[in-house]
Assembly symmetry: C2
Homo-oligomer: 127 residues x 2
DNA sequence: ATGATTTTGCTAATCGTTCGCAAATTAGGG
DNA sequence: CCCTAATTTGCGAACGATTAGCAAAATCAT
């Protein structure tokens, strides 16, 4: 039948991610849910994250220790500005990409077809 | 005495990286060296990569399977244009960063202090 | 409610990476 | 050169995050 079930663990994981809006590891999500008297297995966390990633509802990032972390975000193309203090992630659009594409073409003969960017600094609240 | 020795394994790993100029995993480096009748232990490859990373002589990137890969590059600030066909990595400067910084400040109140970018496409040779 | 199907939870397996330590290399005097 | 002290290597074991297997539980459509 190939349907997708809506279950309690999935709802809780999704809700937590939507609430936090910062990069969390599977272990952190597991720990946070466990604290709020919800018992989800770590493997379920991993599976749900994989699912959400496929649906483009979260994006994944490997942190400085090599651990995968995940944040809830829009399924459309954008980049992330990550606050170094509180971890809050903001989505930012990129219009200025043409200038880079042009630079790459003229200086390197490189035909750009995709790009990834990350910004680090202080968010409005932490500044 | 706190000196740093120059050894055969280190020279070979460094030479290989400088020759290839594409992202290689520790295992790939190990395999390539082994083929050219050089016996370096995998752990030595890892240790040397860590050393080179500290010295900013290689940069590290986690590939799509979660494996760490490394490429030889300049110690100064720049970004990488990675060819999807041959894997060749080219270093590109970024002047256009002010426009992003401005956008972040005005639209998000975000104070930018660092950024990371990657470009994907076809290099001049593969186009 | 019922039954087919999807998910979960648990545990064990996987696999890249790191560690520990004895043996081998290196650098630099004598 | 040769010796010694210090650093590296190589090997294997240990580690830790992620994945896989499978029986039991939850979900959905009828």
């Amino acid at each position: 039948m190939r349907t997708e079930y809506s279950t309690r663990p999935r709802e809780q994981i999704t809700a937590l991610l939507r609430k936090e809006r910062r990069y969390l590891s599977a272990a952190e999500i597991y720990a946070l849910l466990r604290k709020s008297r919800s018992k989800v297995a770590l493997s379920t966390v991993y599976r749900t994250l994989g699912l959400l990633e496929t649906k483009r509802e979260v994006s994944q990032r490997v942190d400085e220790h090599g651990e995968s972390t995940y944040v809830s975000c829009a399924p459309t193309h954008h980049h992330h500005a990550i606050c170094r203090k509180c971890g809050k992630v903001e989505e930012v659009a990129c219009e200025a990409m043409e200038s880079f594409a042009g630079e790459l073409r003229t200086h390197h003969g490189f035909e750009l077809d995709d790009h990834a960017m990350e910004f680090f600094g202080r968010c409005a609240a932490c500044k």
